[in-house]
């Protein structure tokens, strides 16, 4: 068993050395670009596969976002779904007929078609998708920082519990925002449990013709791919920066990081904000792709699902996280539905898709036993998990002074 694994690892490394890293990147991008055509040739009725792949692109973005928080900065976040929800709702607000009374029923249009094919003005706010994703990203980043702020002094289990609570609170706030939000105003922000639908289709700013997914999937696939590449670029640049180093320092030892001049508050808030930003970015994309923004999508299981991608792929390693996201998402969206006939054939009566979380749980269990560092671990994580000596002598210190944002005079205790 371990002999086989070692051989595999050796072979993997020699394959990896055949090309320089940059060439591997170019090759991966070319493959991703050619992908829709390849599967069209190989598989009849490839639409299901392409549909699953487009969903997967969004999951990759979210997994990369969560990886900033969990993998780089080491802050366990169990409420990531909140940012998916916020991003999706921004898309819902700025790209649907949710607010029909805007400018006297004429609607507000920004680089989107303003008259319906049947004639007449389209009511509601309609901002071009390529602007909405950035508005959603900034708005969600802001909320990432706001929700992150109260958790700054928490660690481990306590941090997980508070973030979990935020993941529950945010969708409930939206669900109840049918008559103003936070009790302010009387506008319906969410349609309650029905959700906002339909959502505007994507159109290029220079064209008045929207894409027509789900009938034609290729254009939206490339939009998603472009968003993934932008996310990847952001992640790599941040990882190799001053901020990326500070995140890892904070993850390794907060006391030492603070004593080296790292501002813990700012460093952690950036991690929350940037992680959340990518959640909102992907959330806006999924909202238009799924044509609905519905609070039923925003459940706890979703946060866990994204976290599983990060853990399974290899916390802290960008490529591992992408692999984990692709693997779990494709399994969930494509391979498990394909297996739905299987129980029937052996005389059992259930759908494989209905036990998907059981299957993921089992996979995670197997992973944790055989390879706790993930499929493609970051070299750092691997060292952490396999270090022989565990650092047990934590200094007891004043947590309060580490996070004190006041620079004022000494206060009597």
């Amino acid at each position: 068993m371990s002999g086989a694994a070692a051989t595999l690892r050796r072979n993997g490394r020699s394959v990896q050395r055949m090309l320089p890293p940059r060439a591997w990147g170019v090759l991966a991008i070319l493959l991703a670009v050619a992908y829709p055509f390849v599967i069209e040739q190989l598989i009849s009725g490839s639409n299901d596969l392409l549909d699953a792949s487009i969903q997967t692109l969004a999951y990759v973005i979210m997994a990369l976002g969560l990886n900033i928080v969990v993998g780089f900065a080491g802050l366990l976040d169990l409420g990531y779904v909140a940012f998916f929800a916020i991003g999706a709702f921004v898309m819902g607000w700025l790209g649907s007929q949710q607010f029909p009374d805007v400018s006297g029923g004429e609607g507000f249009h920004f680089l989107t078609p303003d008259t319906s094919p049947l004639g007449g003005a389209i009511p509601g706010i309609h901002v071009n998708f390529f602007f909405v994703i950035f508005i959603a990203a900034v708005f969600t980043a802001l909320w990432g920082a706001i929700l992150g702020a109260p958790t700054l002094r928490l660690r481990g289990d306590y941090l997980a519990i508070v973030t979990l609570a935020f993941g529950e609170i945010v969708p409930r706030v939206f669900e109840n925002a049918t008559s103003g939000i936070f009790g302010i105003g009387s506008i319906d922000f969410s349609n309650g449990r029905q959700g906002i639908t339909p959502i505007d289709k994507v159109n290029f700013p220079w064209s008045d013709t929207p894409f027509h997914y789900p009938l034609e999937l290729e254009p939206i696939y490339y939009v998603g791919l472009g968003m993934v590449l932008a996310t990847l670029f952001l992640n790599i640049r941040l990882r190799d920066s001053r901020l990326g180093r500070a995140w890892i320092a904070v993850r390794e030892d907060e006391v030492a990081a603070a004593s080296m001049g790292v501002n813990l508050v700012r460093t952690k808030l950036w991690a929350y904000a940037l992680g959340a930003m990518l959640g909102g970015f992907a959330g806006a994309f999924l909202a238009t792709y799924n044509n609905t923004v519905n609070v039923d999508q925003f459940e706890f299981g979703f946060s866990v699902f994204i976290l599983c991608m990060v853990v399974l792929g290899g916390m802290g390693n960008i490529w591992g996280v992408i692999l984990g996201a692709v693997f779990l998402s494709m399994l969930n969206r494509f391979f498990l539905p394909e297996l739905n006939d299987l129980p029937d054939k052996v005389g059992l009566d259930f759908d494989v898709t209905s036990i998907n979380f059981g299957i993921f749980g089992f996979l995670l269990l197997v992973m944790m036993v055989l390879r706790p560092e993930g499929l493609l671990p970051s070299s750092r994580r691997k060292l952490e998990l396999h270090a022989d000596d565990v650092d047990a002598d934590e200094v007891w210190f004043d947590e309060a002074s580490l996070y004190d944002t006041r620079d004022d005079e000494m206060r009597p205790e």
């Binding site: 001053r242 006391v255 080296m260 001049g261 002074s401 004190d404």
Partner: protein, 271 residues
Amino acid sequence: MSVDVGKSEFAAPAPGGGATLLEASNVLKVFGGLVAVNDVSFVVPERAIVSLIGPNGAGKTTFFNCMTGLYRPTAGKVLFDGKDITAKRPDIVTNAGIARTFQNIKLFRTMTAIENVQVGMHGKMRSRIVGMVLRTRFVRREEQAAEEKARELLDFVGLKRGNELAMNLSYGDQRRLEIARALGSEPKLLLLDEPTAGMNPQESEELRQLMEHLRADKGISVLLIEHDMKVVMNVSDHITVLDHGEKIAEGAPADVRANPRVIEAYLGSQA
């Protein structure tokens, strides 16, 4: 700036010449019912090497932590370079010019030696988030300069394996790396918490020379907590002795060595 002294006399300026760099007056730290540091006043002049000694549990590290912001003193005042840094956050204290090492080594274990030193430079670097993502010319230059400087500092402390992970370094090298990392923040005052612990006599001697170099070449003051009396007596301009949280003696090495209270604290009274 002057505080009502009341109980204890103001710390006498230590010899070594130069203006006062750090001045702690009447620092008190209480944990529940335990008085860990009791009304200690203390001065570090510029370009001085000053030691803080005392038996285990005397409150030396607690006093360190009060000055570097890890603990908030219960009472008292800490002035550094004319600025009040009492109870400031650790990163503010560090960026004001005080860097430290830790008694139990606290390196970023899965980062390389160079990366560790680069984290030490964090507060001195000016790149912003947009610049980092776009990797502007400014950021590229700053990163490059940081790497060069990190290598220089590693050379300075005598650590050759810059690309090695911190956790794979030998104990003595880890201690050296902690000093290099602290120097990354370009401090005016370096606080060393038992730097020779676990070192052999030759390494201790190298460390002593390093401290002399710091003062001579970089003009950095050193505040040292140390149990190795050979190092302390050889290197210090001035020694302060703590016992049970209280200052029991201070002065030049020869005076402290002869002080009966110090001997009693270390060896017990010969009743």
